[in-house]
Amino acid sequence: MLLYLTLIFIPFSFAIGDTSLSIEHPRNPSHQKDSYIVNCKKNCDLKVTTSAKRQGTSSVVTFESKINELIAIAAADFPNDKKIKAHQVLYTIKASDGSRNVELTLGYPKSYLGEDYKKYSDLIVKLEELKSAILLNTTEEK
């Protein structure tokens, strides 16, 4: 019974209004992956894994609007149907505002042409702002 209730409760607790973001960035030639993770409930838990590990928390206000802006750009017909070769993957992104979920794979820039390049550039600027905010609100683990 306890297990049954737990199984019902756990997905429910994630379902409403939780904002989250995961940015994965592979480096070459090793394919070592950096990651930036944000999980917001009452506060936002932040986790960064690069050559060092960083952690922190921040208010929901700092990240919710930025992640929503990212989702808005991504949801607006972003060319996500491109087949991007592994060595040309710049970012793999998963973002959610609790109701909308987006998953994106971004390549290096020159494969994006015309209006797609504009959307790509806007998205990259937004991602860099988010990464800076995450780094600013985390400290390195000793």
Binding site: N28, P29, H31, H87, P109, Y117, I124, S132
Partner: protein, 369 residues
């Protein structure tokens, strides 16, 4: 067996290129020099006294640790001096000025600390291209109708430093009809560069894109953190260049060229998935990285060569360098793609490929089963 392989290479040289050109004379020289360890006495991997790198290259590579954190210190200092004083919000012009200063200063500091000159790095790429072009032109194991195309593709690759790449991206934006002030377009271009190389250019990364290789200066200084001297840094970078050049002609670009290599890897790993698109691209590029690196190390003592291979494999031991979708694992790439590479085995004076532990190359399984 190696003699016969090289003879085969040499005899097929005639179809591929003009013998008389100065470049071919030079590259034929390189090929001859490759053939300098035919009679080396290799160690028995079952001998308890065999060097660790002959027993398990991956374990050896992962045992070589960094001795300093010059990269981290430079990154922190550059951020403190430049990014931490950027007004919030900043204008495009302020952002661009900060990005330009931080990236340029990082590059200057990296090349000062490592004593590697920018021109030497360009020469390193040029040497890597020469070695690869020689192999492409001389190997009988590439489809004949693709040889010239692959050769020319490698030949046309150039190196871009930070500001050059940003300038190129601004021009690309304009060609795409993107409207905006120069400052706005430049900010986007810096953001793209920073996504790959970090805001100070100090990420340990390099990439190949549309005929250009961008080498983030962080990758260069990270080699200094192993205690590597100038020559060792250049030698380790040769793998990066070989690998990134390899992407210009990898299995995703010319699948038919790697058919035999594919079958070999599928047999060796016992998995058809080993040659899924993404891992095939990495493994086939490692093949070229191994060729270029082994050429650089041909006169280096085996123990020193092993150390340089460990530097070149920076990041392969990290937990996150493993599978994500179809990426090949770090251990497989180090032990099989590099460790079983015939030319790498030679420079390490480890046991040559055998039927039990074959080398997967353009010619397929070597030695043949």
């Amino acid at each position: 067996m190696k003699i016969s392989f090289l003879l085969l290479l040499m005899t097929t040289f005639s179809f591929a290129a003009d013998y008389g050109s100065p470049e071919m004379k030079r590259t034929i020289g390189i090929l001859d020099e490759m053939n300098n360890r035919i009679n080396y006495e290799y160690c028995d991997p079952n001998d308890p006294n065999a060097p660790a790198y002959c027993k398990n290259l991956y374990e050896y590579v992962c045992s070589v640790k960094k001795k300093s954190n010059l990269l981290g210190v430079l990154d922190t200092e550059t951020s403190r001096k430049h990014w931490d004083i950027l007004p919030d919000p900043a204008t495009h012009a302020q952002f661009n000025q900060t990005a330009r200063t931080a990236i340029t200063l990082s590059e200057t500091n990296v090349y000062k600390v490592t004593q590697v000159e920018r021109d030497e790095i360009r020469l390193l790429l040029s040497d890597a291209k020469s070695v690869m072009k020689t192999f492409i032109s001389s190997t009988p194991f590439l489809p004949r109708n693709k040889v010239k195309e692959m050769h020319d593709k490698v030949n046309s690759v150039n190196l871009k430093y930070g500001t050059e790449y940003v300038t190129e991206l601004v021009a690309h934006s304009k060609r795409q009809g993107i409207k905006g002030s120069d400052e706005a377009l430049q900010k986007q271009a810096y953001a793209i560069y920073m996504s790959a190389c970090g805001k100070n250019g100090l990420e340990v990364n390099a990439f190949y894109e549309s005929g250009s290789i961008v080498l983030c200066p962080g990758l260069v200084i990270s080699l200094k953190d192993y205690g590597a001297n100038k020559e060792e840094i250049k030698n380790a970078l040769s793998f990066t260049f070989g690998h990134e050049l390899g992407h210009a002609i990898d299995a995703s670009e010319y699948p038919e060229a790697y058919d035999k290599m594919k079958t070999c890897y599928q047999n060796v790993s016992g998995s058809q998935n080993i040659w899924e698109a993404d891992s095939a691209s990495e493994i086939s590029s490692d093949y070229w990285g191994g060729i270029v690196l082994s050429h650089r190390l041909k006169n280096t003592p085996p123990a020193d060569s092993a150390k340089i291979i460990a530097y070149a494999m920076d990041g392969f031991c990290n937990e996150s360098s493993g599978h994500s979708g179809a990426h090949s694992e770090g251990s497989f790439r180090v032990n099989q793609s590099i460790g079983k590479h015939q030319l790498i085995a030679e420079v390490l004076e480890c046991a040559p490929p055998s039927k039990e532990a074959p080398f997967c190359s353009l010619r397929g399984t070597y030695p043949a089963p």
